[in-house]
Symmetry: C2
């Protein structure tokens, strides 16, 4: 079930300098980014629980991103 729109992903590719983009490239972007988003979210949920909260907050996502090797 795709969560991210093709139009958004195509814009991100074009912002990165893509002149032309195949439909398959956009589809693979969607799969890869959703996989990354899910991984990031699972880390954030775990960190919120670790802090004794049911609400996922900004600081959980920030720390999750650091743990996945992204600032």
């Amino acid at each position: 079930m795709p969560e991210l729109s093709n139009a958004s992903l195509e814009r991100i590719l074009r912002n990165a300098g893509a002149e032309r983009v195949s439909a398959g490239a956009v589809e693979t972007m969607a799969e890869t980014m959703e996989e990354y988003g899910l991984k990031l979210s699972k880390e954030a949920v775990e960190l919120a629980k670790h802090a004794g909260r049911k609400t996922v907050k900004k600081e959980d996502v920030k720390l999750a991103a650091r743990r996945l090797g992204q600032i």
Copy 2:
């Protein structure tokens, strides 16, 4: 300029098990995922150029994802 919708990102967080999500968490998800998407796209554009193409294809995004340490 945000490319990914808050509703999509909140769904991804909920798919990962989040019970409640703060507005700041969704905003930080957007920033982090867009940063990741841009990094992935830049790699894919570079790989397409390397292959002598102007069109970014599925195989460029797949190889870019591998280079960023994601399958």
